[in-house]
């Protein structure tokens, strides 16, 4: 029956280590979002270019990123590329894997957002003498980013949670890695993972709230 005795001491004592790990987690998540957003923007421009090869590249990226497990994507970045002689550290492999996933989902967010912007907007820009790129840059893109902003914060939360998959490629400095290592020597599995889960929860919530706050400041219309 249920006769487990909780021992929180070890876990609580390890809190500073866990928080150090949390910083690494946050760092990877933020970097992966920055890279993911930049790549998603490039993928979106590829799609809009009208060039078949470029838009095909975008389609392939989005399809793979959204329809295969994130775990495999990270495996591919570490072990898969390793087969070709490209050896990425666990940190880099994790970052690359998550950024790949982010870019796919964010490109799809952008596509949905673009659908919500009437074509007449770009047309109005063109009729004022703007090039297609200018009309995109100054008229369509700002509106697209606004519409895609809140869905993108979902992806940011997902990126934070995905970092925990790093333990499978030997990542041991992020929150999941640190927790795993401490659990291996203490066997206080429930306590350590419960505490780590609380930290993940708080990071995710903080990011969501910060994004909402930023949104009300940035988008005044």
């Amino acid at each position: 029956m249920f006769n487990y005795t909780f021992h929180w001491n070890q876990a609580l004592k390890a809190l500073p280590q866990l928080l150090d790990g949390a910083l690494v987690t946050l760092q990877i998540a933020l970097l992966s979002m920055v890279i993911g957003l930049a790549v998603a923007m490039a993928l979106t421009l590829f799609r809009l270019s009208g060039n078949r090869i470029l838009s095909g590249f975008t389609t392939a990226w989005v399809e793979i990123a959204r329809n295969t497990p994130a775990l495999f994507q990270i495996y591919m970045a570490h072990f898969g590329l390793g087969s070709f002689g490209i050896h990425l550290s666990p940190y880099t492999a994790l970052l690359v894997g998550i950024a790949f996933n982010n870019a796919g989902y964010l490109a799809e967010n952008f596509r949905g957002a673009l659908k919500a912007i009437p074509e007449t907007q770009a047309r109005a820009g063109r009729s004022l003498g703007m090039t297609p790129l200018m009309a995109f840059r100054y008229i369509v893109m700002p509106q697209m980013l606004r519409i895609a902003f809140l869905p993108a914060t979902n992806q940011a939360v997902w990126a934070i949670l995905m970092t925990s998959l790093g333990v499978t490629v030997g990542m041991n400095t992020d929150l999941a890695g640190v927790t795993q290592a401490l659990n291996a020597v203490s066997f206080r599995t429930f306590e350590f993972f419960a505490l780590a889960a609380v930290i993940y929860y708080l990071i995710a919530k903080a990011v969501t709230l910060a994004a909402r706050l930023a949104a009300t400041r940035m988008f005044r219309y």
């Binding site: 009437p118 007449t120 907007q121 047309r123 109005a124 820009g125 063109r126 009729s127 004022l128 003498g129 703007m130 090039t131 200018m134 100054y138 008229i139 700002p142 509106q143 606004r146 988008f219 005044r220 219309y221």
Partner: protein
């Protein structure tokens, strides 16, 4: 001068312009009337190159609009166009809406573009709305902003494509007043419109389009007073 020579245009199997010939002189106000589907709006979007044409040519101040070598982006600075939908840029304030193209397309300094924008917005009666976002304004105000936005590029010609058709009836007047003002200032204008009273008052000439053909063109007193074309007679009887 805008010269339109034997212009043909089809959408699929539907020919919407069946050989249009028309010349608009500098300083002239031409209005185009006609039923929906008569090709009048299509002609406007062909003039500034937003639409291609299948045959004939359109020449603006000596530049063939649809020639391969023509820099359309440059040509469009000469041709202001205002659409039925206001197309306000929702993420920019009224002032920013008007300043955007002069800044980015003409490369004007911020001060220069702002001075021009304030001047044009004041001209159309929106001097007190500079910092407002378009969604806080009525349709009539948004349409006047669109007119100011086009004027800020200092165009030689203004094309108006049914600019009052999407407005509530009580807002039509303020936009028509703005057009009247521009006409009285000597702006060269082509207005596609359903407002017969307006057409009669401001036009130097009125053209009647029917099924892709310019069926009649004449000064307003002749066109409205003694219409010759039977389709025009029907059209006028139906709209009066």
């Amino acid at each position: 001068m805008i010269e339109i020579e034997n212009v043909r245009k089809s959408f699929g199997s539907l020919e919407v312009l069946k050989g249009i010939n028309l010349t608009v002189q500098k300083g002239e106000v031409l209005t185009i009337i006609g039923g929906s589907g008569s090709g009048k709006s299509t002609l406007l979007t062909c003039i500034n190159g937003l639409e291609t044409i299948d045959a004939g040519r359109i020449v603006v101040d000596g530049t063939d609009v649809h020639a391969k070598a023509t820099d359309l982006n440059k040509l469009r600075r000469k041709l202001g166009i205002v659409f039925q939908q206001f197309n306000a840029f929702p993420h920019l304030t009224v002032l920013e809406n008007v300043m955007l193209a002069p800044r980015k397309v003409l490369g004007q300094s911020k001060a220069e573009a702002e001075a021009m924008a304030v001047k044009q917005l004041t001209h159309v009666g929106l001097g007190d709305k500079l910092k407002v976002y378009p969604n806080r304004m009525s349709g009539g105000q948004q349409q006047r902003m669109a007119i100011a936005r086009a004027l800020a590029m200092s165009p030689a010609y203004m094309l108006f494509d049914e600019v009052t058709s999407a407005l509530d009836p009580q807002l039509v007047g303020e936009v028509l007043d703005t057009l009247r003002m521009l006409a009285s200032e000597g702006m060269t204008m082509i207005c596609v419109t359903h407002e017969m009273k307006f057409a009669r008052e401001v036009s130097d000439r009125v053209a009647f389009f029917h099924k892709g053909v310019m069926a009649e063109i004449a000064p307003p007193e002749t066109l409205f007073g003694a219409p010759k074309d039977p389709e025009l007679q029907n059209f006028l009887a139906a709209t009066h």
